[in-house]
């Protein structure tokens, strides 16, 4: 699915140079469910952003499928991103001015899917996520759990091969959190690759494998399966 080799990310400001990731090498196979764990500031989010093609590495190689993408321009990354990757955030990041239906519809607009097909797909998705009755509501009128279900619906509406989730349960109570994790697990069973950043060992249990980061380095790569460095 994807492979990174000797990947390094530096943040440079006028005075300081901060290394967020050092020489990381990871491979993630099709259909895997991987959790990335580690203390605050260890580079989890940076790694997720690079994997999600939102950011580019300072050095190293990144193969998305067979393609080497580390040197892609912002335009190329956006192009690749919109069909292949879905994002789920801790703070949901729904657009407040758009309704539930319109938020979920957005990725299909960028993929230029025809209107009738869009209607159908969004309707089915909302049905599947059990929020169809809320289709014309605005995000702020929903509960946290409902908002995250909408966010997941938006992430998977375009059938991405990969879902990147950044602490998807971080802003939810345990009941809603569990519901979201079950949803992700079910998606994974249906074949979607999932990479999830989390602080919660409980949520990490849903994953096949855990990658632990510390100070920008992979420290352990295995809890359930053997991990090759």
């Amino acid at each position: 699915m994807l492979k990174i080799k000797e990947l390094t990310k530096l943040y440079t400001t006028d005075e300081v140079e901060t290394t967020a990731l050092r020489n990381i090498t990871i491979e993630i196979r099709d259909g895997e469910f991987v959790a990335i764990m580690g203390p605050s500031g260890c580079g989890k989010s940076t790694l997720l952003n690079i994997l999600g093609l939102l950011d580019s590495p300072t050095a190293g190689e990144y193969y998305f499928g067979k393609e080497e993408v580390s040197g892609f321009s912002e335009r190329q990354r956006a192009q690749l991103r919109k069909g292949a990757i879905g994002f789920v955030f801790q703070s949901f990041n729904l657009i407040d001015e758009l309704t539930v239906f319109e938020n979920v519809e957005l990725p299909l607009l960028y993929l230029k899917v025809p209107a009738s097909e869009r209607q159908q797909k969004v309707k089915e998705m909302l049905e599947r996520m059990n929020i169809r009755h809320r289709r014309n509501h605005f995000p702020q009128q929903l509960s946290g759990g409902q908002q995250q279900r909408v966010a997941i619906a938006r992430a998977i509406i375009a059938n991405p091969r990969l879902i990147l989730a950044d602490e998807p349960t971080g802003n939810l109570d345990s009941t809603n959190g569990e519901e979201v994790m079950k949803l992700l697990a079910r998606l994974n069973e249906q074949g979607t690759t999932i990479i999830m950043v989390t602080h919660s060992p409980y949520d990490a249990n849903y994953a096949h494998r855990i990658i632990n980061l510390f100070d920008g380095k992979v420290v352990t790569g295995n809890s359930k399966e053997q991990f090759h460095v």
């Binding site: 989010s45 657009i95 001015e97």
Partner: protein, 790 residues
């Protein structure tokens, strides 16, 4: 996608109703000014545009050398037209024109009417569509063609063609048969006549001899082709000599062809003598609204830019998500640009609504302007509106669109974006806004002060308390004087051939070899006293003195200064190279042309009652209107068949005060709008700044900062900006006010520091009032509240 954009646009506009309203209103007012500016410019630019042959019509002008400088003259020796017709091959048509003026009697009513005498081919060369009758009416001397306006007045219900009208000039009477009706020209025309008769009538009316090179008219020609222009001009020079032989004291240097197209604009701009036509719109009436509109549009755009960047921070999340979901940057730029275009469109709609009021209001300010908000009238107006929309949309919307679409989604969504609410760019815009406001306030104050200054200006005579009447001859003078003499309100009466406010002539004088053109007035012995002029040296004319009539002159200070006379009284001057005159007195400068033009050397000669054409009466300031009315009443009694020709001696100044008032109104309007817009800009910037710095303020307070200290640190930056703006604004304001004053007046208020100090104080007060509450609130907020959400 478009629908999605539109939805989000409307929803986010609804969320920011106040912002939208303020910006749309601000932009609307600015655009309404731009519309006014465009319409006035367009009106002026289309002077004489209706004449089909305009590109091929030329007026024959000549240049005279006076005091070593060329002076252009719009008239032409009377016989030249006949001399060149047929003998210069490049010329097709020759048309003579003479504005006769006068009054008309229809049945028992007397009307004033601008009659012009023209050659029979006038209507072939110039475009005046005939509504009734036939062009051939101008072929003979007995017919007259009238405008449709005159037709409505004289013959509202009858067919005018074939009707009789009587021309009245002094005691002359001439009957004409109406031969046609033409459509009255719009105000932006050089011509202004109400009726036309055949040119040859002027020999009867004025008693001129044909072929007299000392008389002048206006002569137009059309050319065979544009290529012969220089050739024709060259051939015209052969008539210089014959003219100079006929009038030796008034020498023509050369003739030239003055294109009819743009004639009115050039006459307004350049110094042209004897231009017997409308001038184009005075430059200030065209330039002032353009300058104003440009300043306001820029101001509104800057405001728009700043506020839209300020509120875009509420939409950062949307931008981030769109990027994550695969939006390209250009798509975001397009989205935000089209949003701003939509706002600009709303602004334009508001502008058109405001223009419904502003256009008629501006039109009413200037008597020579005739502009209407008529969408169907010309296609150019639509082009202008479209250009205006694109201009404002792009100027106001480009920076925010590129600025907000630049952010990285990772930074936005992680919340680590350092959203620079007051970037150097937005601060610069605010400085400009304040500087512009200051320019407007400064100009408003200066023009108000100038109006007062000019109202009290010493014009050299008692202009505010004088009334005059234009009489036909000595008998007329005596009859009117008789009727007024017993009036207790009239303090003095005098007669003259010319009058300070209305009439004088120009002739050359020679003093020890030095040539000079001077303005001359022939006056009676009581005229100077009755008009309140001040004799500085020497004496007045002695009643009935034959020597004074022939050889004495009283001159003004300017003449003394120009010739550098140390002892003016007793000096001998040669008038028109033939007549020796002696200076008997010197008067204080008299401003014949108001404060518009420099005072010229002036010479007063003595004349007896046989030449009186004016009666002047002096009263006091309480009775000036009553005396004016008394004089009109007396006129009607004494000359029942003539229209009263009575006026105020300050009519030059009335126009000046009108111009002053108009410019003041415009700048006060500009000042208010500009200041409101800048205050809004400042308010939104400070609000955003305060929101951004809430945490900093909280931390500072926890660490022991006082309220005063917090106020100080927030205000420091803005105080600096205001200071820079004050410097820029006062310097720019000084130059602009000085330039405007100088372009309109010759004599105006010397600009002191007062207006600038006043304007800065006004602006600082408004700025302080605008942000004071916001800053105070921020400084007194409990830090526990601001730091809690970490």
């Amino acid at each position: 996608m478009l629908i999605n954009f539109l939805k989000i646009t409307f929803r986010s506009l609804l969320k920011n109703k106040v912002f939208v309203l303020i910006n749309v209103m601000g932009l609307g007012i600015a655009l309404a000014c731009a519309i006014v500016a465009y319409l006035s410019w367009d009106f002026n630019n289309n002077f004489d545009a209706r004449h089909v042959n305009a590109n091929n019509i030329y007026r024959i002008n000549f240049v005279r050398i006076t005091n070593g400088l060329p002076v252009k003259n719009g008239s032409c020796p009377e016989p030249l037209a006949k001399a060149i017709a047929g003998s210069i091959s490049g010329i097709d048509a020759v048309v003579r024109y003479y504005p006769v003026g006068g009054s008309f009697k229809v049945k028992d009513d007397l009307f004033r009417l601008n009659l012009a005498a023209v050659d029979a081919n006038f209507l072939d060369v110039f475009t005046f569509p005939l509504l009734q009758g036939n062009k051939s009416a101008l072929a003979g001397k007995g017919k007259i063609i009238i405008s449709n306006k005159i037709k409505e007045k004289f013959f509202p219900d009858t067919d005018p063609v074939g009707q009789l009208v009587t021309y009245v000039m002094g005691d002359k009477r001439q009957e004409y048969i109406v031969g046609g009706v033409f459509e009255k020209m719009p105000l932006n025309s050089s011509f202004y006549f109400d009726a036309l008769v055949n040119y040859d009538n002027i020999y009867d009316i004025f008693g001129w001899q044909e072929n007299n090179w000392a008389e002048f008219n206006t002569t137009f020609v059309t050319l065979h082709s544009p290529h012969v222009f220089h050739e024709v001009e060259k051939e015209l020079q052969q008539y210089v000599e014959i003219q100079n032989r006929a009038k030796e004291d008034y020498k023509v240097n050369n003739y030239y062809l003055d294109p009819f197209k743009g004639m009115a604009l050039r006459a307004e701009r350049d110094d042209l003598w004897n231009h017997w036509f409308h001038f184009s719109v005075p430059t200030p009436a065209v330039i002032a609204p353009i300058v104003m509109a440009l300043l306001l549009v820029l101001l509104a755009c800057f405001n728009f830019t700043n506020t839209s960047i300020a509120i875009a921070n509420r939409r950062l999340k949307e931008i981030g998500i769109r990027k994550v979901l695969g939006s390209q940057r250009h798509q975001l730029v397009a989205q935000f640009l089209s949003e701003n275009m939509l706002l600009a469109l709303l602004g334009l709609i508001a502008g058109l609504l405001f223009a419904e009021f502003l256009v008629p209001a501006y039109n009413k300010m200037w008597p020579f302007l005739d502009i209407t908000l008529d969408y169907l009238k010309n296609i150019r107006f639509f082009g202008f509106l479209l250009a205006l929309l694109l201009f404002t949309g792009l100027v106001a919307g480009s920076y925010p669109a590129f600025y907000v679409s630049r952010f990285k989604p990772t930074q936005i969504l992680r919340g680590t974006l350092n959203y620079g609410s007051t970037s150097i760019f937005t601060r610069t815009l605010l400085v400009f806004q304040f500087a512009i406001s200051l320019v407007a306030i400064v100009s408003g104050i200066i023009f108000s002060l100038n109006a007062n200054y000019q109202q009290d200006y010493d014009m050299g005579f008692s202009h505010q308390t004088g009334v005059y009447a234009r009489v036909a001859d000595e008998d007329g003078y005596n009859a009117l004087k008789q009727a007024l003499q017993q009036n207790p309100r009239v303090l003095a009466i005098a007669g003259a051939r010319h009058n300070f406010t209305a009439s004088w002539y120009t002739d050359p004088i020679n003093y020890r070899g030095e040539e000079l053109d001077v303005d001359l007035l022939d006056i009676g012995e009581d005229y100077l006293t009755a008009t309140g002029a001040t004799l500085l040296q020497g004496r007045n004319f002695v009643k009935d003195s034959q020597t004074d009539k022939e050889n004495a002159v009283i001159v003004n200070e300017e003449l003394v200064k120009t010739l550098g006379l140390a002892e003016p009284v007793g000096q001998r001057l040669m008038l028109r190279d033939t007549l020796a005159v002696y200076i008997v007195g010197v008067v204080k400068n008299i401003y014949l042309t108001g404060l518009w033009q420099p005072v010229k050397p002036l010479m007063l000669r003595y004349t007896g009652p046989e030449n009186y054409r004016f009666l002047v009466a002096q009263t006091d300031s309480d009775n000036v209107h009553a005396v004016h009315d008394d004089m009109e009443a007396a006129w009607k009694k004494v000359f029942p068949d003539q229209l009263p020709d009575v006026g105020y001696m300050d009519n030059m100044l009335v126009e000046a005060l009108e111009v002053n008032k108009n410019i003041k109104v415009m700048f006060v309007f500009l000042g208010i709008v500009a200041t409101i817009l800048s205050a809004i800009g400042l308010f939104s910037l400070v609000s955003l700044d305060v929101i951004k710095r809430m945490k900093e303020i909280g931390v500072r307070k926890v660490l022991g900062a006082s309220v005063m200290h917090i106020i100080h640190i927030i205000n420091k930056r803005y105080a600096m900006m205001l200071l820079i703006a004050s410097v820029l604004g006062t310097v720019a304001g000084y130059y602009m006010a000085e330039m405007l004053l100088a372009s309109i007046w010759t004599y105006y208020l010397p600009i002191g520091p007062g207006p600038f100090i006043g304007a800065v104080l006004v602006l600082v007060t408004i700025a302080a009032a605008t942000v004071g509450g916001k800053v105070l609130k921020a400084a007194t907020t409990n830090p526990a509240y601001t730091l809690r959400d970490e």
